[in-house]
């Protein structure tokens, strides 16, 4: 114990003399842990919210009965089926806007008494005594505790809605899904202004049998499946976030690795003395591990706290993206369990030990006398570089294999991970080879020194440069993907949203009334009715849309792929369909293939005549001729109208529609608002990605700064003789800056093709596997120039302090270097 104590004490004394190194190690651990745990916190929070949403009415497996045309059901369906012995329970769902907070919330109305026996309501038994207050006047509104806090409301409050209705007293519940108000069904009908209507009926999944007429024609069964689960739909989104978090973690660990390696190298004489004093390798390693673990714990605590703060800052954007893209509600406030805190600390500890393993191994393997020999460490480093080259080669082979045979999201991530690993590990070798190639006889002495010294700096700089390479490539890759997506998406949106106004009637009767009223309005040029039906193929949820033949679609609807001739003629001739890219990929079908659609009249076989893009839609989408759809679903009412009209008259028409048909803003959307909303969702979706990318670049900048700062002291040894031979300090400073810039530029030269390759992986592999759509690979030179400028600026900032120190170094400092033993 005494041996360990004194060994540890002597090792720790190093940090007192080298506070910058301590800072760099701490920073690496801190940033690596912060970025990864931040992402894990976001994902954890979202998953917890999904779990609560899917368990809102839980306890037993359930099935659902809903209208085949997606419209609300009359309340009579519930009472009739109940009388006939069907154990159904009604649910009404819609949205309301809180007047003061101007916040839209989902409302779910239930009838607890008729819920299947054994059901749980927000984690509580459906027959709990608490429910008496829920169903008896003045009733209760159950709401998630964090939503309550987020809205700055309290238990017992009765906020007003935008439609003038008042909510029953609020009651916070821990297990409630965020962003949802749970009320008695009678209350929901009043709040949503949908008297005697319900959205669907739920019943135990174990119930079998055929529904009695006419319900067998009007209702469709839907067994609860994982396909529609928000957790399943958003899986790819969270996987992408995790990948970015892991990248940032890796970049942070590069700093830790560099700092630990340098600290050990600087402590060579100390290690020799300690070993020579009779401390065994085992004790020395144990002391080093204890020291590293303590540092990891300190950095980990700071990282976990920062990760929490980071996640809190990013959560509103992430929650908005998930709501906009997938309709998944995520609590806007973080509530993390002690397991998350402990797990994150363990992550930091494991990361530090992984990053330090190589240095510890090297320290354990070097012979006692070689510990103090500078050359021994350099030889060890060269050998390590050699091995690194082999690992890079193997990683490149793995990447090639994944690209060749892979056909899943996991193989896509293996491809990207191996590609990044191969490039990062291969970088020092590539740089060294390149520098050797450009160093040729005949160069001026300073140029020769400049290049040769650059090579000599590589061991100390390689990890920082590897981190920079990863950060730059990730920025180029994600930037190209985002910018390419932005352009494709905007163009697509302009084409797809060609009508000036979109109307969703509340009831079939209203649909008929609108069809008669709309064409008589002077501003309206054409009214395009659309039919919609929610269904499933091979367990994949999709929307089947029927449209009338019109030039608007023929001219504007963007197609990615189509059969020869005019696909629109084929579609409107009947027996054909067009489908979204992601659905085509999921079903593995192409042009000319036949798809079987389940209908009330049996199976309908339709031929694929075109495939179109449907960005941002996690569900499948199929386009058919409206006449075909009416043939198979005769009772299907019009679900929406696309109105072509004078754009300047949209506001007036909307106002008249609101007044005459009581349509709220969810059922009446103009083109401009829809585009604005879609663009907002898009921007918010990528805001977390952009933030994480920027942070990764900052981390790489810090890695570079730390490497330069650590090197600056030993650099004096190389620079002092030059100064003595008549090279001015200004020249030395410029040469030094030039060397750092050269290394950065060469790294950038490698980062650009790697980034473009990464962009290709994202648009052609990851996006396809994760979301089902493929984007064209686009490279934006202006973005590359901006990033190059940013990288050089970061390099300049990172080298500013070490250069300033050199500039300020007094002759006496340089003279001391000339005289000291090095």
């Amino acid at each position: 114990m005494t041996v360990l104590y004194w060994t540890l004490r002597s090792l720790l004394s190093h940090w007192r003399k080298h506070p910058i190194q301590f800072f760099s190690l701490f920073t690496g651990l801190w940033l690596a842990t912060a970025l990864l745990t931040g992402v894990l916190a976001l994902n954890g929070q979202a998953r917890e919210s999904y779990a609560r949403a899917s368990q809102l009415i839980g306890g037993i497996p359930q099935a659902t009965l809903s209208a085949r045309n997606g419209s609300p059901l009359p309340q009579e369906s519930f009472s009739t089926l109940r009388r006939l012995g069907w154990p159904v329970s009604p649910v009404l769902q819609g949205s309301v806007v809180l007047e003061r907070q101007n916040r839209r919330l989902q409302v779910m109305g239930i009838e607890p008494v008729s819920l299947p026996a054994g059901s749980l309501l927000a984690g509580e038994p459906a027959d709990a005594p608490d429910l008496t207050a829920f169903i008896s006047p003045p009733n209760q509104t159950w709401i998630a505790e964090e939503t309550l806090r987020e809205l700055d409301l309290h238990n017992g409050d009765q906020p007003l809605l935008a439609n003038g209705q008042q909510l029953p007293p609020l009651q916070g519940k821990n297990r409630m899904a965020p962003g949802l108000l749970l009320v008695d069904i009678g209350v929901a009908q009043r709040l949503l202004d949908m008297p005697h209507q319900i959205s669907r009926l739920i019943l135990p999944a174990s119930v079998q049998g055929d529904l009695p007429p006419p319900w067998n024609e009007r209702l469709q069964w839907q067994h609860q499946s994982n396909e529609n689960d928000p957790g399943r739909l958003t899986e790819s989104f969270h996987l992408n976030l995790t990948a970015l978090g892991l990248l940032a973690f890796a970049v942070g660990l590069f700093i830790v690795h560099a700092a630990i390696g340098l600290a050990l190298e600087q402590r060579r004489p100390l290690l020799r003395t300690v070993r020579a004093s009779g401390v065994s390798v085992k004790h020395l390693l144990l002391a080093l591990v204890i020291e590293l673990s303590t540092l990891a714990l300190l950095g980990g605590i700071a990282g976990v706290v920062s990760g929490y703060v980071l996640a809190s800052l990013l959560l509103p954007d992430v929650a908005a993206s998930l709501r906009g893209l997938y309709g998944a509600e995520v609590a806007g406030q973080l509530t993390l369990s002690p397991t998350w805190w402990l797990g994150s600390l363990a992550l930091s500890l494991i990361g530090a030990l992984l990053a330090g393993a190589n240095s510890l191994w090297r320290a354990a393997r070097l012979p006692l006398l070689a510990l103090a020999n500078h050359e021994a460490w350099h030889q060890a480093h060269r050998a390590w570089l050699h091995r690194q080259g082999w690992v890079a080669g193997i990683a490149a082979l793995v990447a090639l294999t994944a690209a060749w045979v892979g056909d899943s999201l996991t193989s896509g991530f293996i491809l990207m991970g191996s590609l990044l690993l191969a490039s990062a590990l291969g970088l020092p070798l590539l740089l060294s080879t390149l520098l050797r190639l450009i160093s040729r006889p005949g160069h001026s002495p300073l140029t020769a020194w400049f290049l040769a010294d650059c090579r000599q700096q590589l061991p100390g700089m390689s990890l920082a440069l590897m981190a920079l390479l990863l950060a730059l490539a990730a920025n180029i890759g994600a930037g190209s993907m985002t910018e390419g997506f932005r352009q494709t998406f905007t163009t697509w949106l302009d084409q797809r949203l060609s009508a000036e106004l979109y109307i969703r009637p509340q009831t079939p009767e209203q649909a008929v009334a609108l069809q008669q009223w709309l064409p008589n309005q002077p501003a309206v040029r054409r009214v395009l009715p659309g039919l919609e039906l929610e269904t499933e193929i091979q367990g994949w949820p999709l929307t089947l849309a029927g449209m009338e033949d019109d030039a608007t679609y023929r001219q504007h609807w963007p197609l990615l792929e189509a059969q020869a001739g005019n696909p629109w003629d084929a579609l409107f001739a009947g027996g054909s369909l067009m489908l979204s890219e992601q659905l085509a990929r999921h079903l593995k079908v192409g042009i000319g293939h036949t798809i079987e659609l389940p209908t009330a009249e049996g199976i309908w076989q339709a031929r694929v005549v075109a495939i179109y893009a449907d960005y941002g839609n996690p569900r499948g989408h199929i386009l058919v001729n409206a006449a075909d759809m009416r043939k198979y679903w005769p009772a299907l009412p019009v679900s929406r109208y696309a109105v072509r009209m004078d754009p300047t008259a949209v506001a007036t028409l909307k106002h008249t529609l609101q007044r005459n048909f009581s349509l709220d803003d969810t059922r009446l959307v103009d083109q401009a608002r829809l585009k604005e909303w879609a663009t907002q969702v898009f921007e918010r979706t990528f805001s977390a990605t952009t933030a994480l990318n920027t942070l990764t670049l900052i981390v790489a900048g810090i890695a570079l700064f730390i490497a330069l700062l650590t090197q600056s002291q030993s650099r004096l040894g190389q620079l002092a003789p030059l100064w003595a031979m008549g090279v001015t300090r200004r020249q030395l400073m410029l040469l030094n800056l030039g060397q750092t810039w050269l290394l950065t530029l060469l790294t950038l030269v490698f980062a650009i093709p790697l980034g473009i390759l990464l962009a290709w992986c994202l648009v052609a592999v990851i996006n396809v596997q994760a979301f089902g759509w493929r984007l064209p690979l686009q490279v934006f030179p202006s973005q590359l120039i901006r990033l190059a400028g940013l990288a050089l600026l970061a390099t300049w900032l990172a080298s500013a302090w070490p250069l300033w120190s050199l500039w300020r170094s007094r002759p006496v400092d340089l003279l001391r270097v000339l005289s000291d033993e090095r």
Binding site: A448, W449, A452, A724, G726, V727, L815, S819
Partner: protein, 225 residues
């Protein structure tokens, strides 16, 4: 050639200024050689650094070949050092990233005085012919110091300043290096000022002075024709 007049230098310390040189007067003719001796801390290296223009005196003047160092800017001093001074250090201070050949030619190329014939002669006489493509870390101490000698003399400087050039070498190697230095200095017609602890080494130079507490010990001054 070299005239030092009333040279003073002190270093700031936490305990106050520490005087290192307290009025040095020195004269050395062109082509002459002088051994500067004294105990550790007597100011020998400081005086050498001041003469090399690596540091500036607090008071006094240094004139070399008619040029007054105190009137020169840092840039002029650097230019002058590059062309006129050859420096040899106890620790060799070779450039680790360059080969022996590049190290030898480095200062001569910097000064624009690279002479391949002279370079080859130097390499041969220093016994470095076989080692030209090696790197400093692959050489012994004696070999490294021979490279340092070659580098200092390659530009044919007016003044060679050597700071204990044999201090890190064993007796045999030390003798070989010293002989080479004296031979090459004499052949190139340079002036030599050498700091040394060794009376044996000093005895081989034309003049010898001993520094004591920042002053030249008047008893120590020895000049031989």
């Amino acid at each position: 050639m070299l005239q030092v007049t009333d040279l003073h230098k002190h270093y700031p310390t936490p305990q106050g200024p520490l005087p290192v040189l307290r009025g040095i007067d020195l004269y050395l003719e062109r082509g002459g050689s002088l051994a500067l001796m004294g105990e550790s801390g007597s100011g020998k290296s400081t005086l050498l650094h001041l003469i090399a223009g690596l540091d500036t005196p607090d008071r006094g003047h240094i004139n070399i070949a008619g040029k007054a160092l105190h009137t020169m800017s840092e840039r002029q001093l650097a230019d002058w050092r590059r062309c006129e001074i050859g420096l040899i250090f106890q620790q060799f201070n070779l450039i680790g990233s360059l080969t022996v050949a590049d190290n030898l030619a480095f200062q001569a190329r910097l000064a624009g005085r690279y002479d391949p014939v002279w370079q080859q002669q130097l390499a041969e006489q220093l016994g470095l012919g076989e080692l030209l493509q090696r790197y400093p870390e692959q050489l012994s101490g004696g070999q490294q110091q021979r490279v340092a000698l070659g580098r200092a003399l390659a530009s044919k400087p007016a003044l060679v300043l050597a700071d204990e050039p044999t201090g890190n070498l064993d007796e045999t190697t030390s003798g070989q290096v010293l002989n080479l230095l004296l031979k090459l200095v004499s052949r190139s017609g340079c002036t030599l000022l050498m700091v040394t602890h060794s009376p044996h080494v000093a005895a081989q130079l034309q003049q010898r002075v001993v520094l004591k507490a920042g002053r030249i010990d008047p008893v120590s001054v020895v000049s031989e024709p």
